[in-house]
């Protein structure tokens, strides 16, 4: 395999930026944001350079490696700090550094009033470095470092305004739920080492075909657990909505475009495991299907624009996970949707940030309305993203989402029909809630608070939005033209025989567009024809109430895990003091008690001593007498 000495700069540059900004402290306040952006930008430049190098080689010779040093080596457990850049990771590298740099630029303006902007850029750089390590590590253990690194960065950024207790709690919740997923990754690595004897991607791939299905299935399921945690998939989805506590650029970068898609990366990267473990693969599909509906349903009831977009993210990642679970035919489509989603969702989040920026940080869409006139650029860029997520041709989502729907239908048998229907239904609901967001925000009557003075955002903010909007329009076409992405990725995946086609592509597209049209129409009828209340109505159906409560996810977690856990903790604390320490203190008390009992004999009265002497002598004589007899 080709080696390269420059891969490490991808990670080292943003890491250096984060270190300098954190160590320099207030001294760096003046130039911190510029340094952060430069570091991210130069990392992007290195990525482009790598891409150009890669394009110059033949399709099978494209991956490059760089071994940095021996990280851990004990007995047969050997892990190098090594980086691997192949056709899959370059997609991520460019997405992370590209979108990342745009969001850095956006944040310069968005965070300009914040006292701690330098610290924000430090965290952003830390995130970029960790995310790059995640996608560049050449073994599961290296990936793990990046995996928890992005978790840490996400924790720090969600809790960026942690002086508000609710925000601090949200960041903690995200970290803990992610840790549950990380535990799955730990298990997968342990199983890999115990069964295969290595934890590197190449090593496991080599051994996969002579490893038992049971072991691979166990590994696959554990990787899936990891993916559900990081990608906010069912049943570890509950943290994503709360994670919107972070500043909006964070939501765009971490909780829409990059970090939450790490689960898709993990499953795609582990294709050699999942291809050999059908049960695990089936579970992946089921998780994806459940989440895509789950997220979509939550999205229909949210009034908070960021939470509606978060629910949408959850749902869209459900599509990707489902696609990745469909095996070799689905991986490339999952990645394609991931890339297009990275553009349009990041763009929409930045749009939401732009709206909030102009509306005194108001997030309730019921207090928006008629913003089209006041924020034309935001409206247009957001609108292009909207068309992309709906899958209207020729926008990006049309290419990527339709491919997943089509692949789902072609999965074969009842499974195919079920999955296809779920993805179609999801497309319809997506159209409904996204149209709702558009209508509530940009059209209709103004329902603003009195002090709101909506205005268009400055250049530094709308420029990234515009660039992302261009991506939302064109990326789908560019990536699918001549199956560009599929061919690009194909050397990485093992191919099997083509599936029979249940429905022709044109039929699928027609069905999908039909569903989208229905969704849009319902939303129009409900929100454009009627007045929208600026306070959320209370007399709504029980389904709406449940959806507003995030389908009871938090109540479930609280009732099943949190409260019993707290009770267990309290009980154990008391038991430790009363029983275990009680036993220890009991031994001490026993010694004290028995000595105070015996002390009573030492009365100080001569006569009682004499009596004792007599009694003792008598007993002694009696004893001797008995023995002699």
């Amino acid at each position: 395999m080709t080696t390269s000495n420059s891969l490490v700069y991808l990670i080292a540059l943003p890491l250096l930026g984060a270190t300098i900004l954190l160590l320099a402290g207030r001294r760096a306040d003046k130039w911190g944001h510029i340094l952060g952006t430069l570091m991210s930008g130069s990392s992007f430049a290195v990525g482009l350079y790598q891409l150009s190098q890669m394009l110059g080689r033949s399709n099978t010779a494209r991956p490059v490696e760089q071994k940095l040093f021996e990280w851990i080596s004990v007995g047969s457990f050997k892990v190098d700090a090594g980086l691997l850049l192949d056709q899959l990771s370059i997609c991520f590298v460019l997405l992370i550094t590209g979108v990342g740099t745009l969001i850095h630029i956006y944040s310069i303006s968005y965070m300009s009033h914040d006292h701690d902007r330098r610290r924000f850029f430090a965290y952003l750089n830390l995130f970029i470095a960790a995310m790059l390590l995640l996608v560049l590590g050449n073994s599961y253990l290296n990936l793990y470092v990046g995996w928890e690194g992005v978790g840490l960065a996400s924790y720090l950024l969600i809790g960026f305004w942690n002086q508000k207790p609710a925000y601090a709690t949200a960041s903690k919740k995200a970290f803990v739920m992610n840790r549950v997923g990380d535990m799955g990754l730990s298990f997968a690595i342990m199983i890999a080492f115990a069964t295969v004897g290595t934890v590197s991607f190449a090593g496991i791939k080599e051994h996969a075909h002579h490893t038992s299905t049971a072991a691979l299935t166990a590994m696959g399921i554990m990787l899936l657990v990891a993916a559900t945690g990081k990608s906010a998939q069912f049943p570890l989805q509950a943290w994503l909505g709360d994670a919107m506590a972070g500043p909006t650029p964070v939501s765009a970068l971490i909780h829409a475009a990059t970090m939450v898609t790490a689960g898709v990366y993990l499953i795609t990267r582990s294709n050699f495991i999942f291809d050999a473990a059908p049960t695990a693969q089936l579970l992946v599909v089921i998780v994806g299907a459940i989440t895509l509906l789950f997220g979509a349903l939550i999205g229909t009831a949210k009034d908070d624009i960021k939470k509606a977009l978060a629910a949408s993210t959850m749902s869209q990642i459900g599509y990707m996970i489902l696609g990745a679970g469909l095996g070799p035919v689905g991986y490339a489509f999952a990645i394609m949707h991931l890339l297009t989603h990275g553009f349009f969702k990041a763009g929409m989040f930045l749009g939401a940030g732009s709206v909030m920026h102009g509306m005194n940080d108001e997030v309730n869409m019921r207090k928006y309305g008629a913003l089209r006139k006041f924020m034309p650029i935001t409206f247009v860029t957001f609108g292009l993203g909207y068309l992309a997520i709906l899958g209207v041709p020729p926008f990006a989502g049309f290419y990527s989402k339709d491919m997943i729907i089509e692949t789902a239908f072609n999965a074969g048998g009842i499974k195919g029909i079920l999955l296809g229907s779920v993805t179609l239904l999801g497309a319809g609901i997506t159209a409904f809630y996204m149209t709702r967001v558009m209508i509530l925000t940009f059209t209709g009557k103004a329902r603003w608070d009195e002090e709101a003075h909506p205005h268009e955002s400055p250049l530094l903010m709308w420029l990234p939005m515009a660039i992302l909007a261009i991506g939302s329009v064109s990326s789908g076409y560019l990536l699918s033209r001549g199956d560009a992405l599929v061919n690009w990725l194909s050397p990485l995946f093992e191919h099997h025989g083509e599936h029979e086609e249940l429905l022709a592509p044109i039929v699928v597209s027609a069905l999908a567009l039909g569903m989208v049209a229905i969704g849009v129409a319902i939303a129009f009828l409900k929100y454009s024809r009627q007045e929208v209340a600026s306070v959320a109505p209370e007399n709504v159906s029980v389904f709406t109430k449940i959806a507003r409560e995030d389908l009871m996810q938090d109540r479930f977690n609280e009732a099943v895990f949190m409260r019993p856990g707290q009770q267990l903790t309290q009980v154990l604390v008391k038991t430790d003091e009363a029983v275990i320490d009680g036993a220890v203190r009991g031994v001490g008390k026993l010694a004290m008690g028995s000595s105070s009992l015996l002390r009573g004999v030492q009365s100080g009265f001569v006569r009682s001593y004499a009596a004792l002497i007599f009694v003792g002598a008598a007993l002694l004589i009696a004893a001797i007498w008995v023995v002699v007899q």
């Binding site: 030492q602 009365s603 100080g604 009265f605 001569v606 006569r607 004499a610 009596a611 007599f614």
Partner: protein, 99 residues
């Protein structure tokens, strides 16, 4: 006369002395009871000497008498001292050792 009778008398005197030590409070009386016990023991020694036909028991009896004489000297001195300091000859009033 059977020598065993002397032993019975000795046991009787010893018991009277022992009971006196335990039940009486007056230090002088207790002291006299102790003397009684010593002499009961002496009687037993002398009797055994007679029964066994050697002089060992009688020798021990002399030792006992010497010890008893010393004891009387020291013991009475203590009692008198306690009486001077505490205005009482009761042994129970001298229970300071327990503290």
């Amino acid at each position: 006369m059977d020598a065993a009778n002397y032993l019975y008398l000795s046991v009787l005197l010893f018991t009277i002395g022992a009971v006196g030590v335990v039940v009486r409070r007056n230090a002088i009386v207790v002291f006299m009871c102790v003397e009684l016990m010593l002499n009961a023991a002496n009687l037993a020694f002398v009797t055994f000497s007679r029964i066994n036909g050697d002089l060992n028991g009688q020798v021990v009896a002399f030792f006992t008498m010497v010890v008893a004489a010393c004891e009387v000297v020291v013991g009475l001195a203590i009692i008198v001292t306690i009486y001077r300091s505490r205005r009482s000859a009761s042994v129970d009033d001298a229970s300071l050792l327990k503290r």
